[in-house]
């Protein structure tokens, strides 16, 4: 698949792929190397893997990493209660010890976790290892080994080798530095916040019913917001939420009142609200004049202080 085809297919699944992304995916498939995606929170790292699975028409197997994730919960585990039960049930069966042992250490007693699942598929799936930085170094080392060979040795069953190498996407939010060894094994992609045009394309792709002018205004406003030193810079998810909220509220343009009512969809920290308010003179040109809806709607309070004024 060339990158033009790839981009076209991603677009059909509602994912806007830029040059770097399309090239990265193309190389990852051709070189059979894992793709490590880093970038700020909320730029669609996880979403990209989901879109890739749809584009390739294959299964997405996701391993969400968390602190304390170990090989047993990522790879496989024997179903011990079932094994114990089976031992009791077959106690009187008269079968030989070997036969009984072979029985309880066979596939029906094996609980496949995502990594084993991914290498035992008939058709190469997309394996998403999400937020690897949350797992600890020991797990990273284990993963490195697995990604090198794509085979797993289970003492009781023997070695299982991947029938089809899965396409591996690893994401990280950089709460911890990943090891150099892992980085070198992967292709690297830095996914940044979208540019204004990309944002516009994303809005149109994900919300086909959106008004063109509103989408344009949102994209321009997001560009302004991302340049501000917020504690939590709004990502793509936020701009989509915002657009959806505006559509639900039947607003065709953003004005001061609408912005106030919907700030909660884009900024999630109180200090950021205050910062936005203090920047009013800078964003005002991006807004429309006060709409006539304003007067009919009571002032919002969000529990932040206008309550007393209303009571008094």
């Amino acid at each position: 698949m060339t990158d033009a085809e790839l981009r076209e297919r991603f677009a059909r699944h509602g994912y806007v792929a830029n040059d770097d992304f399309a090239t990265g995916i193309e190389l990852m498939l051709a070189l059979e190397k894992p793709l490590l995606i880093e970038g700020p929170a909320g730029v669609g790292k996880t979403e990209s893997a989901k879109a890739l699975a749809e584009v390739l028409g294959t299964r997405l197997i996701r391993l969400q990493c968390y602190e304390g994730l170990d090989a047993a919960s990522a790879l496989y585990e024997w179903n011990y209660p079932k094994q114990l039960l089976r031992i009791r049930l077959t106690e009187e069966s008269g079968a030989s010890a070997e036969a009984r042992e072979a029985e309880i250490f066979s596939e029906p007693f094996l609980l496949k976790r995502p990594l084993l699942e991914a290498i035992t598929q008939e058709r190469a799936p997309v394996l998403l290892i999400d937020e690897l930085d949350r797992a600890d170094e020991a797990f990273e080392a284990f993963l490195l080994e697995l990604l090198g060979e794509f085979q797993v040795t289970i003492p009781e069953l023997g070695t299982i080798r991947a029938r089809e190498r899965p396409a591996v996407v690893i994401t990280s939010n950089r709460t911890r530095e990943l090891s150099d060894a892992l980085r070198r094994r992967c292709l690297y992609l830095w996914l940044d916040y979208p540019t204004r045009d990309e944002e516009l394309a994303i809005l149109r792709a994900r919300l086909p019913g959106i008004d063109g002018r509103l989408a344009e205004q949102i994209a321009r406003f997001m560009e302004f917001l991302r340049a501000q030193p917020f504690q939590k810079v709004p990502g793509v998810a936020e701009s989509l939420d915002w657009a959806l909220a505006l559509m639900r509220l039947h607003r065709e343009a953003i004005d001061e009142r609408t912005l106030e009512q919907t700030t909660g969809t884009i900024l999630k920290v109180r200090e950021d609200w205050e910062l936005l308010r203090s920047q009013r003179s800078r964003y005002e040109p991006l807004l429309n004049g006060t709409s006539d809806v304003a007067d009919t709607v009571p002032p919002p309070d969000y529990g932040l202080g206008t309550v007393r004024a209303q009571r008094g």
Binding site: A30, G68, E77, W78, Q83, L84, R176, C186, Y188, W190
Partner: protein, 399 residues
């Protein structure tokens, strides 16, 4: 030179001139990538090479300039058919929220190897003054320290003297600080959960009857450390031991991040992670070393840009500073309050704290003090050994 050789030379240049970790495997992948995307479309080749050669956001920042300099500048080498867009390298775009990589901000005119040359020539502070280089350096240091015009100083050096004690102290601190329970299960006799895998294994001896229950418990987890090192003119003079300690900490644990600040803040973790950094200077730090002191502003930058990623109830923040803040003290107070609320402890290391008759009277120090868990001296390795001992003792007692 054909294209294969060009790519190999590019790999070597990235490795030697730009500090990339790329090797032969990268050359091989780059050639295969070039086969796939073709070498006629510059942007595609650039994207492809970026994916292959880069492994960190810092490398992504430096990559474009290196690519331009190598493939687009005329240099009498057989070039792939690339459209020459720039006649000279463009400085990389700064779009990341990360601390800027040291090399990317170097002015274009400067030779890129100037810093490395300095490494070899620059003598240690203790050299006898008859050495002509030492005199020059002293003069430069003096100028950096006292002239208001010289905003940026020489990048600091990690001395090797007393490093062993620093490593011992860092090891002790990393191993001894246990601030939270991990979610990982480890075998433990008085654990709360039965470990079925090991119980079943053990039951082999008793004919399959699980007589002896094996148990597991949540493991204890080590702390995460953040070192913020004041490199302003007044504090940089005594910062040597703190830098050594930060280097030792970074070498001992992956959950350590280090920053230098003066007029600006800059992350130095990756530079300190290089094993052979001892005895060498850090890369150019620009406004983050040898300038004025804006503690409040820099700590605020840290909280805003790196807080979400590095601050947690198990983070121990080590601030090295003499507290002589020339900036906004209100801001320092607000930021210190937030730092304290979002971390396990804030340890302030003041180079003067050990001196007889010391009182925390400097403006910044006085403002910060209510939010500081403990104030320690940081003059030499003994201070740091004592610090590690005191901190690990505190957590041991709490348990």
């Amino acid at each position: 030179m054909d294209f294969t050789e060009s790519v190999a030379a590019f790999t070597a240049e990235l490795r030697e001139q730009h500090g990339f970790g790329a090797g032969q495997a990268a050359t091989r992948d780059a050639l295969r990538a070039a086969e796939i995307v073709g070498i006629t479309a510059e942007t595609r080749l650039r994207s492809a090479f970026r994916a292959v050669y880069c492994a960190t956001p810092e490398e992504v920042d430096r990559f474009d300039a290196a690519f331009d300099a190598f493939f687009l500048a005329p240099r009498g080498v057989a070039q792939p058919n690339l459209r020459s867009r720039h006649t000279r390298p463009e400085p990389p775009k700064r779009s990341r929220e990360e601390a800027p990589s040291p090399k990317s901000q170097r002015p274009l005119g400067e030779r890129s190897d100037a810093a490395e040359d300095d490494d070899q020539r620059r003598p240690t502070e203790r050299r006898p003054p008859d050495d002509i280089n030492a005199v020059a350096v002293t003069w430069q240091t003096l100028r950096a320290r006292y002239s208001a015009a010289a905003a940026r100083g020489e990048p600091p050096r990690i001395d090797t003297g007393g490093l062993d004690e620093m490593f011992a102290a860092a090891s002790r601190l990393v191993a001894g600080m246990r601030v939270a329970r991990s979610r990982r299960w480890t075998p433990r006799r008085d654990g709360s959960r039965v470990d079925l895998r090991r119980t079943l294994r053990a039951s082999v001896e008793t004919a399959g009857d699980p007589v002896d229950l094996r148990r597991t418990a949540r493991a204890l987890r080590g702390a995460r450390f953040v070192a913020l090192i004041d490199g302003s003119r007044s504090a940089a003079e005594y910062a040597g031991p703190m830098l050594q300690f930060a280097y030792a900490l970074v070498q001992r644990s992956r959950r350590v991040s280090a920053f230098a600040f003066s007029t600006e803040l800059r992350e130095v973790t990756r530079a300190l992670r290089e094993r052979d950094r001892a005895g060498r200077t850090l890369p150019e730090l620009g406004e983050a070393w040898g300038g004025g002191t804006r503690i409040g502003a820099n700590l605020a930058t840290f909280v805003r840009e790196h807080g979400a990623r590095l601050l947690s109830p198990e983070t121990i923040v080590l601030i090295y500073s003499d507290g002589l803040d020339t900036g906004d003290l209100d801001r320092l107070e607000r930021t210190m309050r937030e730092l304290r609320a979002r971390s396990a402890a804030v340890i302030w290391l003041n180079p003067h704290a050990g001196a007889p008759g010391f009182t925390p009277s400097a403006g910044g120090m006085r403002t910060a003090l209510p939010f500081v868990t403990a104030l320690y001296p940081a003059r030499d390795s003994h201070d740091f050994t004592a610090l590690a001992r005191a901190l690990t003792r505190t957590t041991a007692r709490r348990r």
